[in-house]
Symmetry: C2
Subunit: 292 residues, 2 copies
């Protein structure tokens, strides 16, 4: 079937004005022009170095949770996470990390309690809708490169794979930013509007998602010896320019992203026999690449 499909496409394009070749989502991403990509600014990146080696890069979303993100920046600048650890890995749910001493006083500039920044007014923002029904929101789509839900009045970040949020205790305003988690399984969208999301992992998910699952309640490691140590977390803007990650996110208002969404919803590349006709918000991850 693969050979047949390719042969047909080549023949058609050589002899007539044929329908455009069927492109896979990956081919659309690879062919997207420079104008479809946006550089992530160093100010919006944190770089986590695991003690065993390996870099994890977090892109922040200051438009959505500015107080929490100001907290996280102050904590990072103070070295809060340096010598910290991954303390929890719950299968099909989250990886969570903390500073080296949760009883240590917070540095200046950290607001505790922080307001419950779970959503923000939609006014003035444009959601690029995904055009498929969503179980969790009247409208699902993208704003400035981020997956979101909206009820027509408010808009909020969605708990898709790789999104980063702020751990908290029972009261909604207890999440300071001193413990963070990343989603590693099926999107736990029931957490949307219940926890502050602050960004996403844009490099190094494959260093977090395979960590051993904790055997304590909620996947916490019961033996501190199981923890994976964090050497340090730095603000990319504070790193020497040559060391900073250079990454780009696809613009979700670009024609290439519209094509990508359409291809994700209607897979017609060679492997597929029946396109779905729809796509889940979290099954259309926004493409990220190294800056060429």
């Amino acid at each position: 079937m693969r050979a047949y499909l390719f042969a047909t496409t080549l023949l058609a394009s050589s002899v007539m004005a044929a329908p455009p070749a069927i492109r896979s989502p990956g081919e659309i991403v690879a062919a997207a022009p420079a104008s479809a990509w946006q550089e992530i600014s160093p100010e919006n990146m944190l770089v986590m170095e695991l003690a065993g080696g390996g870099r994890v890069v977090i892109e922040l979303a200051p438009g959505f949770a500015p107080v929490h993100i100001a907290n996280i920046r102050a904590l990072v600048r103070d070295g809060w996470f340096d010598g910290g650890a991954i303390v929890r890995v719950q299968d099909n749910y989250v990886v969570q990390w903390a500073g080296r001493d949760e009883k240590r006083p917070m540095p200046a500039g950290v607001s505790v309690p922080a307001p419950a920044e779970y959503d923000r007014p939609l006014a003035g923002m444009k959601v690029q809708p995904i055009d498929s029904p969503d179980p969790y929101a009247a409208t699902a789509g993208f704003v400035d490169g981020w997956p979101v839900g909206s009820d027509g009045k408010q808009v909020w970040l969605a708990h898709c794979y790789s999104m980063v949020g702020v751990g908290r205790d029972m009261p909604p305003d207890t999440g300071s930013g001193a413990e963070l988690y990343a989603v590693i399984g099926q999107a736990p969208r029931h957490l949307d509007r219940n926890i502050a999301l602050v960004g996403r992992i844009v490099e190094g998910m494959e260093r977090l998602s395979p960590l051993p699952r904790g055997t304590g309640d909620l996947g916490f490691y019961t033996d501190p010896g199981q923890r994976v140590a964090i050497q340090r977390i730095r603000d990319a803007a504070d790193m020497p320019p040559a060391e900073r990650p250079r990454l780009q996110v696809m613009r979700t208002d670009s024609p290439a992203f519209t094509d990508y969404l359409s291809a994700r919803a209607n897979r017609r590349d060679a492997f597929f026999v029946r396109p779905a006709g729809g796509v889940d918000l979290c099954n259309a991850p926004v493409p990220v690449r190294s800056t060429p």
Copy 2:
């Protein structure tokens, strides 16, 4: 807030006919009566033993892909997977395993090519709907304990976390059962009706999902030394009774499961400040427990 909520509930139940206590999905599962549970028959379980130790149990869904499952049973009986390996781990996608020698002749009883058992007629089956919109199917819900989609004529298994499918090449009828995969990330529902699903992992997902991600195309291990060896896969019915796993799946037509679905869609337990009002098919995993 937790203290306040608990105090209110206790007070109310002690002095008046109060609204029922708010129960979390986990509490509903823990309190479900024996009648809400169905024992998995040994005939429908495969037991994989990893070479490094550790058991993974697969429940088969013979109602949905009978020819593929007959193939898998014949392969297992022949020892096809014994000495095989995990050959592919693609982050946020699948873990895939194969027999020790893909060029070895298939044993008798294996149909190659197998028919494309991607869906089956809905007639005579009752779907318990999930009552939330689904991006991939007109109706999403459960049949006999399995997550499914339906278009009103056909019904098919859904690619939720932990579901097991049959790897194939480009032509739709090339999946024999000699290579199998399990879903380890966001549900790749675009594969629904494009690959035969044959069951799900009911024990031991936490042994598969943390395996190192492969660095080759599609997450295949490029160095055979990276592979995780499979000691053997057995049909539970062929095991001594004392060694067989004893597991139960919640009946999806039970009142307890209806309560569980409702609680998953409307989290009102203490942590939550805003219930979603909906739930994704793959974010309501069918509960499994050890037989008490």
